[in-house]
């Protein structure tokens, strides 16, 4: 990320400086869920780190970072394991957005946008999916029409986590309809709160309101906000997705602090439920709790294996799809186990009984098979990229986008 500077601080010195600084400056660890409701808390924690000289460790000095190495970041991660960290900013802001801006942004963009990111002042999201896209991201239909010194955006984006509470977005739009789908895409930096953009929260099956849908009506974005070439944005999108997979494999140097791994968190919620519901001696329930434990252990080890394999080049970046697939399958299995342990309490319960959450969790279990590209897309990736099996027939390959059959835009408030 930055050339090694012979004058940089020694890793151990850095570590000790952090160890000395942390107790008086950072609050103790408190596991959150990485939800947009933590954005403000994240901004505050990041500001503290910045003031103490521990923010943007691997970001270049010229954009407000420390210009240090991955080893420095890892030392900081180890020292901060018992402290509250702005983990909610890691994805997408630091790793995906930061990585993409560093890789594809103009000098002016980097100067303008990276420092506030490192100071925790601006939180970003991604505007990728659209209601009509499904698994085929490149079939996006947000219209970007060049008008003088700006692109005029019209259309809708969806599944952006916490967009209503964020500041900026990387937005992918279609600037040319007369060429095949990958060849007419432009990536733009969009300020979220501006006239013409309406952000609506989507209520999920569990009543959660994490996801948003955005409606764009004649939104003018200056051409200097374009990342990468006009019409050539698909390369930027692919880079962005690679940063995303890296982040998932815990292999991004731009990440700061880390989540506890499942095996570090002690008793799982499933074990807790089995114990408190008086089923700890039931052999079948013991099997399920132990299966969950084993699954979490194996998932940790697999993340380590694939993450280091991608870092060392033993595995290609698409290997991240293996982690996404495994995470989804394990998540689904865990929801099933939760339902079994909860039993009839999953259907009817007294207010406050934790078993009552397990029914909702089960009803919403497929969410993990959709976020970050559906499980089916991961299987395509693994078979076609990692195993090099033949690609699926794509009826739209080489066909101008406006001649391809697309999905109709659902009416607002459509119930399907």
């Amino acid at each position: 990320m930055t050339d090694t500077n012979p004058n940089i601080e020694d890793v151990e010195a850095f570590r000790l400086r952090a160890r000395a600084w942390l107790p008086d400056n950072m609050p103790p660890r408190q596991e959150g869920v990485g939800h947009f409701r933590d954005f403000d808390r994240g901004r505050e924690l990041q500001k503290r780190l910045y003031d103490g000289g521990f923010a943007g460790v691997c970001f270049p000095v010229e954009y407000g970072g420390l210009g240090l190495t991955l080893e420095h970041q890892q030392a900081l991660d180890e020292e901060t394991i018992d402290y509250a960290m702005p983990l909610v900013l890691n994805v997408p802001t630091f790793t995906i957005i930061g990585g993409t801006l560093l890789e594809f942004g103009t000098e002016a963009q980097k100067q303008r946008y990276l420092p506030p990111i490192i100071r925790g002042e601006e939180v970003w999201v991604q505007f990728l999916s659209e209601p009509t896209c499904g698994s085929d991201l490149a079939s996006l239909a947000m219209r970007a029409t060049l008008d003088g010194d700006a692109f005029v955006l019209n259309g809708s984006k969806i599944w952006s986590s916490g967009a209503h509470a964020a500041d900026y977005a990387i937005c992918v739009a279609r600037s040319n309809w007369d060429v095949p789908k990958h060849d007419g895409i432009t990536v733009l930096i969009v300020k979220i709160r501006q006239p013409g953009i309406t952000v609506e929260q989507i209520i999920d099956t569990n009543g959660g309101d994490e996801f948003c849908q955005e409606f764009f009506d004649d939104v003018r974005i200056p051409v200097e906000n374009v990342i990468g070439p006009v019409d050539g944005g698909w390369t930027v999108v692919r880079g962005l997705l690679a940063h995303e997979r890296n982040a998932m494999g815990n292999a991004s140097p731009l990440s700061s602090g880390r989540w506890l791994t499942p095996t570090e968190t002690g008793r799982s919620d499933l074990m807790e439920l089995a114990m408190t519901s008086g089923q700890s001696a039931n052999p079948e329930i013991r099997q399920l709790v132990a299966e969950d434990y084993a699954l979490r252990y194996v998932q940790d080890e697999t993340t380590r294996r694939v993450g280091t394999g991608m870092a060392s080049g033993h595995l290609p970046p698409t290997a991240g799809a293996l982690l996404r697939l495994m995470g989804a399958r394990a998540g689904v299995r865990r929801s099933d186990i939760a339902l079994t342990i909860a039993g009839s309490s999953a259907a009817a319960w007294h207010t406050g009984d934790p078993a009552g959450q397990m029914g909702s969790r089960y009803v919403g279990r497929q969410a993990v098979e959709m976020g970050g590209g559906t499980t089916e897309m991961q299987r395509n990736l693994i078979s076609e990229r990692l195993l090099e099996m033949p690609r699926e027939v794509a009826a739209d390959r080489g066909v101008p986008f406006n001649e391809v059959r697309h999905n109709a835009m659902p009416a607002r408030g459509n119930k399907g």
């Binding site: 209520i203 009543g207 039993g343 259907a347 009817a348 009803v363 699926e392 391809v404 119930k415």
Partner: protein
């Protein structure tokens, strides 16, 4: 759905479907989510007029079925209600109606059945107890003989529609053994507490009996000897529950299959992707098996087959595992839309999940099967 319905049954099904579609479409169900009761009495009376409460009741009390096989007619209603995730105490009321019709004294029958048939009275079965206990040998609520009657003590939960009904049928235990008692909802010493529920409109309650006195005339059947009655009630409940689940899956499978043709990805309809096609093939197979199991269970209960206990538990455990699995696959096929509140699929998944774990989980019914097929006997 049984593939071989009679003409009368097909007509009945069509009439029921039309009534439900016009009177209680899914948008209406969503609105009832905020209603404390989850359904309206006036609507239930109109359903009663359609025959929803009369199928298991003799003609002398205003009941009657299409051709003498009332349960096979009633599962048609349950299945149609599943297709629209309808509210209403269909299972609850009919289990009690059936029990009273089969085991009640003429006085009990006269007091309850006409009112149930008309829809004026609704009833439910208080079987399950805290901690997921529902099998005969787990019943802990006591009925102590006292002054030509019984004093009831203990807790029942979850009780379907417990906060909405007029009448409970309580399965309890006396010194002699299992005993069932008819207890009015306003009995002294009975506290009914609403519970939370995964389903949008199906309500459950916890019942607390603190020295609730009922006269000897409240006993349904024979005091201390109700095990066979309880088994029969369980079978009727499961037959209806299975039919409802199958109806819910049937509707969603239809909708999702259609979606596969309408939705395009990479210029091709989703229906053209072999990986998805194969998953639909499995779903179709499981759904046919679910329907076969539900029909087989209803027939075994209707005909009082010797092996009905193992048959209903087999169907219950199989359908319990596979119905929700199919629905989750259907969620996945819809992508993000499938996990939004605004799309109806989760209403069906909630209903099927509730059905999966109520009146015994698949796991508990497999344990019951193990006992029924003789695994506790000595090795020969």
């Amino acid at each position: 759905m049984d593939l071989d319905l009679s003409e009368d049954q097909e007509f009945f099904r069509d009439t029921t479907r039309k009534f439900l579609e016009s009177e209680i479409p899914v948008e209406r169900v969503r609105k009832l989510a905020d209603d404390p009761g989850g359904f309206e009495r006036s609507w239930w009376r109109r359903g009663a007029e359609m025959g929803w409460t009369s199928m298991l009741v003799p003609e002398e009390y205003g009941g009657g079925s299409l051709a003498g096989e009332g349960l096979l007619d009633l599962v048609i209603v349950a299945e149609e209600m599943g297709r629209l995730v309808s509210p209403g105490p269909l299972l609850a009321t009919n289990v009690v109606a059936s029990a009273v019709a089969e085991r009640g004294t003429p006085e009990q029958q006269q007091a309850l059945l006409p009112a149930i048939v008309s829809g004026d009275v609704i009833a439910t079965w208080a079987l399950c107890e805290p901690g997921g206990r529902w099998q005969s040998d787990e019943i802990g609520v006591e009925a102590l003989a006292k002054d030509d009657g019984f004093v009831i003590r203990g807790s029942k939960e979850p009780v379907e529609a417990g906060g909405q009904v007029d009448q409970f049928l309580v399965t309890a235990r006396t010194d002699e053994g299992l005993t069932q008692l008819l207890v009015p909802a306003d009995a002294d010493g009975l506290t009914v507490t609403a519970m939370e529920s995964l389903d949008l409109v199906r309500r459950y309650a916890a019942l607390r009996f603190e020295d609730v006195f009922v006269p000897a005339s409240a006993v349904l059947g024979e005091a201390g000897n109700a095990a066979a009655d309880v088994e029969r009630q369980l079978q009727v409940a499961l037959a209806l529950q299975l039919a409802e689940t199958v109806g819910a899956v049937d509707r969603i499978f239809e909708v999702t299959l259609e979606w596969m043709f309408d939705r395009f990805s990479f210029g091709r309809p989703l229906a053209s992707y072999q990986a998805l096609k194969h998953r639909f093939a499995d779903m179709k197979m499981w759904h046919e098996a679910n329907q076969a199991a539900a029909t087989g269970a209803a027939c075994a209960v209707q005909n009082r087959s010797e092996n009905a206990p193992a048959v209903v538990s087999s169907a219950k455990s199989y359908v319990g595992d596979h119905a929700t699995f199919i629905l989750q696959e259907c969620v996945q096929m819809h992508g993000g839309l499938g996990v939004t509140w605004e799309y109806d699929l989760h209403l069906y998944l909630r209903r099927a999940t509730v059905n999966e774990v109520q009146y015994g989980t698949p796991r508990e019914h497999r344990e019951r099967i193990a006992r029924l097929i003789g695994m506790d006997e000595e090795t020969q």
